[in-house]
């Protein structure tokens, strides 16, 4: 006996629609991989001719400090000073931003009252909406004067300035993601902790932080990513000098700022242009290694 289906064509439509939607969503998911691969391919394609040229030495590119892309007599492409500049500024930014960001997230999520929490969240989100040019301008005009006044440095645009500006830029990201991670810890954990007589701080330190560590690490990593990749603000705040920094008050140039400043004039297809793409590739590798190490670290913790 055949089942009388009420509206077979409608059912079929629903099935087709569902399939279609599923395919679409799958496409969205996969597209992220496609985009990353495409960007990597593009970077590599633009950089490859110089990377495999015999006149180009990768060791010189990575480990010498002389960056003279437009020299008339002796062109040299050494990026060590630029890499050191990027790392110095990012490291300082993280030293400032991570304790502040995680502290703020813990306070917002665990300690403050609901009204204050809403206000704080709105203000923090507002902070992340400030464009990076504005941050750079603050670094160039306000921060640099303060640094000159309080440290006696001859020039106020330096590692310290760039680090503080980048810290201010990455704190909002760290706070909002870390706060989400802490919120995602089930309330039963908190209740169980409280029932065992833990103080609020013990609860945070012993229960919530370990439970939320993946999310917290993701928050820190996104902060690092923002700091490494930031261009405009560091271009303005770090002084743009090719120089391996010896102190916080030295001016530096970062990989990103260097690409931004020089790609416009490098004739397409020239060695200089290709080397700039190679620096892009280097930047990509640095972020990739940071992410990978963090990922492995998390897995290591989890296995224990």
């Amino acid at each position: 006996m055949a089942m009388p289906s009420p509206r077979p064509e409608r059912l079929r439509l629903a099935v087709v629609g569902e399939r279609l939607l599923e395919a679409l969503i799958r496409l969205c998911g996969v597209s992220a991989i496609v985009f990353v691969a495409a960007i990597l391919f593009f970077l590599f394609r633009e950089a490859a001719p110089v990377l495999f040229a015999s006149r180009f030495q990768i060791g010189e590119f990575l480990f010498t400090t002389e960056w003279y892309p437009t020299s008339i007599s002796n062109v040299r492409y050494g990026t060590l000073a630029l890499t050191a500049g990027s790392l110095a500024v990012t490291a300082l930014a993280m030293v400032i931003a991570v304790p502040f960001g995680l502290g703020a997230a813990i306070y917002v999520s665990e300690f403050c009252g609901p009204r204050l929490r809403e206000t704080l969240k709105i203000v923090i989100e507002l902070l992340s909406a400030i464009p990076s040019v504005v941050w750079g301008f603050i670094g160039l005009t306000v921060m640099s004067k303060l640094i000159v006044r309080f440290t006696g440095a001859p020039v106020g645009v330096n590692v310290l300035n760039g680090g503080i500006i980048l810290a201010l830029m990455s704190v909002p990201i760290i706070v909002s993601i870390a706060e989400d991670a802490l919120k995602a810890v089930p309330d039963s954990y908190r209740e169980a902790g409280a029932a065992l007589g833990a103080t609020r701080w013990q609860l945070v330190y012993r229960v919530l932080l370990p439970a939320a560590r993946n999310g917290l690490l993701a928050a820190v990593l996104l902060g690092v990513g923002r700091a490494v990749g930031e261009t405009m603000a560091v271009l303005m705040a770090t002084g743009h000098a090719v120089h391996v920094p010896h102190s916080l008050l030295d001016s530096v140039r970062t990989l990103t700022a260097n690409i931004a400043a020089e790609l416009g004039e490098a004739p397409a297809g020239s060695d200089h242009y290709r080397v700039l793409f190679l620096t892009g590739l280097l930047l990509f590798c640095i972020t990739f290694v940071v992410n990978l190490t963090a990922d492995l670290a998390i897995r290591g913790i989890r296995r224990k």
Binding site: E66, N74, S251, E262, G264
Partner: protein, 313 residues
């Protein structure tokens, strides 16, 4: 009922029209682009894209504004970036006029020929002295070109003010803070060619993105030295007198000394077009050379082209 349906229709319409609007917008953009490239007089408004030298960007801006009053149907869009950036854009055929504070290089002419099949044509629209700036409280008042090279060159022998016989008041560390320009700047290349003798700059200089920024940083840093167009002087800085050789009398970067060519770092300011300019572009360049146009050059702190001298590339 009908009203409700009408309003839903209204709400739907923009969504349907959006692609059309975008297409129309693109078409309009494409149109204005082609006008710029050919430089032909347009039905409504001709747009002249003008890009390049940061030294000249102030002058170019005033030119553009004043020309609007003379020829309301022509709009000039000005941007900076450096002489190299301007000439690179010209050689791609992206802009109509490039400003340059240096001469065009042979390879740039080649590049233009390869991309567009045209040869860039240059006009001298004014003169500038590349001034050497120090902080106004710096006791130094003159320097020779050789000393200047020894301050800025790679492997430099002069790193402290005391080596120039100068004591900066109220400063413990008298290391010279070098303020330079990014490598796409014509000023950077002019300095490298005429002061450093094509040698390289010392590493660790602050390479700033504009003429104005150089003067600003020098003006706020007691131990700094930098170079920039003479038109950018402010009360916070001092222009050094420059002697061509050690022992020779030092010459001030003034209009007079640029005109009589005694100042060692005098240079010409150029505009370049692809091929012989025509239409609005030609009219605009002719107007730059007119009394009004040259008055603007002078007001910006540069040296106008003497009226007797015919313009040549």
């Amino acid at each position: 009922m009908t009203r409700a349906r009408f309003s839903t229709l209204c709400r739907k319409v923009p969504a349907w029209l959006a692609p059309l609007a975008v297409a129309a917008g693109l078409a309009a953009c494409g149109k204005s682009d082609s006008q710029t490239e050919t430089g032909q007089p347009a039905a409504k408004k001709a747009i002249i894209q003008n890009k390049g030298s940061d030294t000249m960007v102030n002058v170019a801006q005033v030119w553009a504004e004043e020309y609007q009053k003379v020829a309301p149907d022509v709009e000039v869009e000005v941007s900076g970036g450096g002489s190299g950036v301007g000439l690179a854009a010209l050689n791609r055929g992206a802009i109509a006029i490039a400003n340059a504070s240096r001469d065009i290089k042979p390879e740039e002419i080649e590049q233009a020929a390869r991309n567009t099949g045209k040869v860039p044509k240059g006009f001298i629209v004014g003169y500038d002295a590349l001034a050497v700036y120090v902080h106004k409280d710096n006791p130094l008042s003159e320097i020779s070109v050789e000393q200047l090279a020894q301050v800025f060159v790679e492997g430099a022998s002069i790193a402290r003010w005391s080596q120039l016989g100068v004591k900066i008041p109220g400063v413990a560390d008298d290391t010279i803070v070098l303020v330079s320009r990014q490598s796409s700047s014509g000023t950077y290349e002019f300095f490298r060619e005429h002061v450093l003798g094509k040698r390289d700059f010392r590493m660790g200089s602050r390479d700033l993105n504009g003429s104005k920024e150089v003067v600003e940083l020098v003006g706020s840093t007691l131990t700094a030295i930098g170079y920039s167009g003479m038109g950018y002087a402010t009360p916070a800085v001092k222009k050094l007198k420059l002697s061509p050789k050690a022992g020779a009398p030092a010459v001030e970067p003034s209009v007079e000394n640029v005109t009589n060519k005694t100042y060692p770092l005098a240079r010409s300011l150029h505009v370049y077009t692809l091929g012989e300019p025509e239409g609005p572009v030609k009219q605009y360049i002719d107007w730059m050379m007119s009394v009004t146009g040259q008055k603007i050059v002078q007001d910006a702190g540069y040296v106008p082209v003497p009226p007797a001298q015919p313009t040549k590339p």
